[in-house]
Point group: D2
Chain length 154, copies 4
């Protein structure tokens, strides 16, 4: 059986508003994907995992450190790499489509890895780099993830 | 919800007999664990994944290369690390208990990582190194995995 | 004894003109730095190593693969990581100052790692990302490397 | 110009006696090798680096963490990987010959990597695993390193 995998990347810090948006994104992504991969820590990533899991999806957290307790409560499967920022690559390479939420340089390195590997990356109000697919709303983001996952499967 | 994770390590090459044993091990491990982690390639590892999946377990393959197609047909979730042998560490660190099947130096490096991290490792007719827990049959191996997973949870 | 380390990043492909510029950069960098770190392969990176070594500097190549023979002829010390693109991080983290030559997404991921770690990165006609220090000529690049290495030491 | 590279591995903790032996080993290794690679931290590794550097050799430290200040005072070139125990592989893969001093499971994982890669590993009163070359004194160790480096070059 084929499993559709999406990764969500982006910085941890966020306002209550953005957190709500991230949770909503997680919820709606379950309609188009089976598995969510993320760094599995706090802030926006926690909100996305919470939404995805609440709607029945399976969540994977690829942690920078060795301690499984660092993962947020909504991560089903924890991969504690202990590899620091080298885990950025693992987070995106596991997915067929990546969604980038706003973030700093760490997010940029992950977007760059997507472009290098040829993995489609949707920038939901995140970095505007040549090669990314831009989206402005949760709806638009989820629709684009859906199209890309279907293409990938065909 | 708590998920119990076991990793199985060991070389790829195997006789038909050992392959049967590996498949049986996979099947019986689903009674005590929810998730099986392995390198996800061929030979013994394919047989373990096949048995585990056939009995309703979820399988994760942490690949040495970048190509998801390298995974065997019984891997549900593929993590294509592209990190070569550095992925040995990831395979064992993701689990609470590790089962070592017979193998060469690669298996030894994984056993060593278990000992270094303090992850209990059951040697099912594999390397006899100070610190490993020895087992001689599938039954004995599964029973020991069960006990160790319970201790870990307590 | 204190050793000043500079990394040079950027794509492999280049015109004869850019190759000349890269070799010149390598030569002039020996005036301000003791050690050059790069991915150690072909094209621009070979030219930089050649220039740096010709002027008496020590060169380190952090390879993506396991084969030492992949390194160009001007690498003194070869670190064959076998970690694929995860070695991008190692190339920049080893240095106090990084010079980015033109390149594609791989170069962008390395620039992003610099920004994430707070390592100063000089973009010599490379990516124009918020946070990089821009330079337009070999002279300007070398002068900026020199200033930054001095600050770092102080 | 060809550079001969030796790695020394082994645990950190040591008695004053073993520390003296390690320093002596470092000193004598400069007669047969140009570059010493190690994890670059404290204890035995510091003593080996000190001896090697005092006799004019070049030392490289491949650190588990991101902080260059973790390196001992006798490391010339610091590679701060931030990759935790995954850096074990890098320490041995950079060398043509490896010397193992006494150590625990971490040392065993490095020996195992040597065997997996086919890099000759001399066990100087360290783990007695099938495939290692045993040596009982500093003299014997240095002689064996010398022979193996010559073979490698031929």
């Amino acid at each position: 059986m084929y499993k559709k995998v999406v990764s969500v990347i982006g910085g941890r810090n966020c306002t209550v508003e953005v957190e709500q948006l991230a949770k909503e994104l997680g919820k709606k992504l379950t309609k188009v994907a089976d598995i969510l991969v993320s760094e599995g820590l706090s802030g926006k990533m926690k909100a996305v995992c919470q939404g995805f899991k609440a709607s029945g999806g399976l969540t994977i957290g690829i942690l920078p450190g060795y301690d499984k307790n660092d993962a947020n409560d909504y991560v089903d499967i924890i991969i504690p790499t202990g590899m620091g920022l080298a885990r950025n690559l693992l987070v995106v390479k596991s997915a067929e489509v990546v969604v980038a939420l706003p973030g700093e340089a760490g997010t940029l390195s992950e977007i760059a890895y997507c472009l290098q590997f040829g993995i489609p990356v949707i920038s939901f109000n995140s970095w505007d780099i040549k090669g990314v697919i831009k989206a402005a709303t949760v709806e638009e983001t989820v629709n684009k993830v859906n199209e890309l996952l279907k293409e990938n499967k065909a």
